[in-house]
Structure formats: C-alpha cells, structure tokens
Symmetry: C2
Subunit: 171 residues, 2 copies
DNA sequence: GAGAGATGGTTAACATGTTAAGTTTCTGCG
DNA sequence: CGCAGAAACTTAACATGTTAACCATCTCTC
C-alpha cells in the first residue's frame, strides 16, 4: 500500500535529520506549566463562581493588602504586564470593585485602592480559597511545599536575578 | 488635609474587615508563574527570531518525536487545549511546517505529521535552545534541577488525581 | 522656560487561554 | 435501517499575554 510507503518515507526523513533534543518530559517550562495548571484547576471553579478570573483575583488581593498603590507598582506586585493590567482595571473599576484617582503631584500616575464592595467580595471568596490551598498543602505535604517554594524562588533568582537589582522593599 | 483623612478612612475600613489571607509571597500559583516566566524569558527571543511562539515550538517538537499523531493526542502531549491547537495547526499548515490528512478509517480524526521544512526549522532552532537550557541547568545546578522536576511531577500527581484515579503509592 | 528625552499609562494588533456551542462522523441499540 | 447519543474537532466569544506604538506629563538641561 502507498500509505505504508508514505509512512516509511516520513520516518526515514526524520531519522536522517534527527536533531538532538530533549524530550518533553525533561522540559522545564512544560513541567512548570503542568504543575501550575494542576494547581489552578483547583481554584478556578471557585473564582469563576464569584465572577472573577485568576488575574482579577490577584489584583484584588494585592489591593487589599495595601492602602493605595500606583498602577506600575501593582503591575510589579501582581506580576501582570501593563496592557493586561490596564484592561482589567478598567473592568474592575466599572464593576465598582476598585477606585482610582490621579496623583495630584504627578498627573501621569494613577492611584488605586480597593472599594468596600471589593473587600466584601474578597471576604466571600477567601474562605474557599484558603480551604483549597490547605487541601493542596495537606496532600502534597506542608514541608515539601515549603521546600518547593524555596527552590522556585532560587530558580527565579539564579536565572533572572538581573531584573530588579534595586528593590528597596517597603518604606 | 482631607487627603489624609481619606487615607486613614480607607485603611481603617480594611483593618475592620481584615480577611485572613496568605500573602502573595506564599501563593503557589504565583511562585510557579514567576519561575516559569523567568525560564521562558530566556527562550522567547530565540524562538521569536525564528518566527515561532512557545506553543508552536512545543507542537513542532512533539511532531518531530513521532511519525504521525492525531489531533487529540497532540493536544494531550503538547498540553494545549483543543481550540488553541486548532488555530495553531491551521497556521502551521498554511506555513507548510506540518502536514495533515484525514484518517480514512474514521473521518473525524485528523492525522498530523511534520514536514521537511518543519524539520529544517527545528534543526535551526534546537542548538540555541539546548544551549539556553544548558545554561540554566549550569546556573541552577543540574542536580537541583532534577530534584525540582521530580517535585513538580509529584505535585501534579498529588493534586491532579482526578485525571488518573489509579495512582499507586505516593511520595 | 522651551524643547529633548524620560516616565507612566493606554491603545492597538495579534496569539493564546478558557468555556460554550456547533459540525461532522461514528457507534450502539431498537 | 434509522435515530439518539457519543466522539473528534472546529468555531465563537471573551479575557489575558506579548510586543510595539502612542499620548500625556514630567524632568533636565541649556
């Protein structure tokens, strides 16, 4: 059959030009992606139930932890790129979950804070979120989880340690 | 100033309704995201230089490792959702990097294979990709990297149990 | 104190993530 | 045989990721 010949030809072509390449099973980005997705799969249903995406939830949490914060600083803290953040802030503001003003000393800067409505939403979501996290910690092992955190931080620093060389923490 | 009063009021409102919530520094999804992003930041420029996105690269690598593969199986292997894969395959096929046929025994199924052009592209990208990976392994430590891989796999298995209910033994 | 360049944010354009709905083909059962 | 339901994709719709371009404001210098 010509199908079989075609198959053999394809395989032969690959053998001939075989490129030395790790298998997926040894791909670090893939392993990180899979692990993260496994974790997020636990959280997404609960967030969705409250009308929040993962990123919106990150932003609300970040805002809840401070009094006010500027857009750029929020982007750094919530680990979002400017354009994504702009879109999400527009939406969250329209929904009344956050408030935004302009810095009177520097009119380029936007100053953000969470609204009472936003705080109420957090209060609604937090319990289930914490329960899910506790479940993960329990199943994986709290000590192991801490070790994993440590190793991830070290990986980040050992690779991209040249990104924010001067972060003078909280004043 | 009324600004200060407003600030105090905001803070007071938060203190009053304080929700018990981990800090970002202890967020597992965030840690995984940051680590992954740090890694991908190393690879993206090289891929981009060759006109490939991360996902397109994953697909080509997966195709290069087999003779032919069905769409659903490719989605599983390359860890992509169906809709994303459909779009990317359309593009890769238009660029002549892959070939696709219909399974004559089951006309619902699409059968994919990489083209010679696709193999050539892989051969062009692979060296720099491998070099980047080696650099990461060197900076982070090969042994530590292996340990991290192991822990990520265990994390995935320990919380994604609904995917493979027959998980014999744990860590 | 005006213009060059830097900074903070947004918009634009395209690719992917995510869920739901649609289309085609197959399978099983009466 | 005929049809209900499942399976394999695909399309649709909306949200985010990513890079580049853009606009407004500020800063610094001459």
């Amino acid at each position: 059959m010509s199908e079989i010949r075609a198959k053999v030809a394809r395989q032969a072509a690959k053998e001939a030009r075989k490129v030395p390449m790790r298998d997926f099973s040894q791909s670090l980005p893939m392993a990180l992606l899979r692990a993260r997705e496994a974790v997020m799969r636990q959280f997404r249903p609960s967030l969705r139930q409250h009308g929040l995406t993962e990123q919106q939830w990150r932003i609300l949490r970040a805002l809840a932890a401070v009094d006010v914060i500027e857009v750029t600083e929020l982007a750094r803290v919530a680990f979002l790129l400017g354009p994504s953040l702009s879109r999400i802030l527009r939406d969250l503001e329209a929904r009344g979950l956050i408030q935004r003003e302009v810095d009177s000393r520097d009119m380029r800067r936007g100053v953000l804070s969470i609204s009472t409505k936003g705080m109420k939403l957090i209060a609604q979501v937090a319990p289930s979120s914490e329960a899910i996290y506790a479940s993960i910690a329990s199943r994986y092992g709290a000590r192991k989880l801490a070790a994993l955190h440590k190793m991830l931080g070290e990986l980040e620093r050992s690779i991209g340690g040249d990104l924010d060389p001067d972060d003078s923490g909280d004043g």
